[in-house]
Amino acid sequence: MKTRILGFAALLAVAAATVNGLFIVPADLNQGDAQRIMYPHVASAWLAYLSFGVTAMAGIGYLVRRDLRLDAIALAGAEVGVMFTAFAIWGGMMWGRPVWGVFWQWEDPRLTTTALLLALYAGYLLFRRLTDDPHRRAARAAVVGLIAAIDIPIVHFSVIWWRGLHQGPTIGDPSKILNPSAPPLFVLALMGMLAAFTLVWGYLMIRRYQLARTEWQIEEHGRLGRISAARRSFITESITEEAAP
């Protein structure tokens, strides 16, 4: 019931933030209406970081405690994170074409490392399908998730470390938190979108975690069923052999 309330709140918040971003906040003087794409683009990128951070932390937790619930959290973070990374890339492309003149540029470190992040966690999800043993799968996935997490700070600091098309931090830099290089109205719209997307993120994480737990139960029951069937088959064969002259 609480999760449903969260889902409903998330729906209302996204609707309000979308209407605000599209129709209420004024267009930027230089970028025009294209600036409006920044709100879902930046919010998606931040939630992608958060998701993969959760995957890495849950992976460490699993390696320490061997608790499959932590593996379910790691899986939820990876799947939701892949989706938000894809949205961040898409939003960036839709903004880049009218403002930069190109959808994509491989020479840009932020773009390339973000594409790598998407590939790494898509690979993480595929890698999980290689084995049916839940503990072996969780341990291997935790290691892969931790290796992939190395790319998160590289993506974030790429705009500071290297030069490229992508602009530097607007508010993400500690020196700019109290003095962002964007008008307060734009920053408020961004914060509104981030809050709305965070509610959706929370709802999706809970639902994906529940799905992972249910899928694990199905696997467990399937295993028990196979053991039971094998046992019955063995008993039937033994009885047949004993009854034979």
Binding site: D33, Q217, R231, R232, I235
Partner: protein, 53 residues
């Protein structure tokens, strides 16, 4: 192409994608829960049969 179309495409895919993923996730969860209940029932009946044997 006007930049408005890029804005529509940007929001359409992101907000629409969020909605589609949420619905798909809900459906996957519902199907998984039904399957879990069905399999649990089958396993319990098989285990009972084992005990009977």
């Amino acid at each position: 192409m006007s930049e408005v179309w890029f804005v529509i495409a940007g929001y359409g895919v992101i907000v629409g994608g969020l909605a589609a993923y949420t619905l798909a996730l809900g459906r996957r969860l519902s199907r998984a829960r039904q399957a879990s209940l069905r399999i649990r029932g089958e396993v319990e009946s098989a285990t009972t049969a084992d005990v009977g044997e």
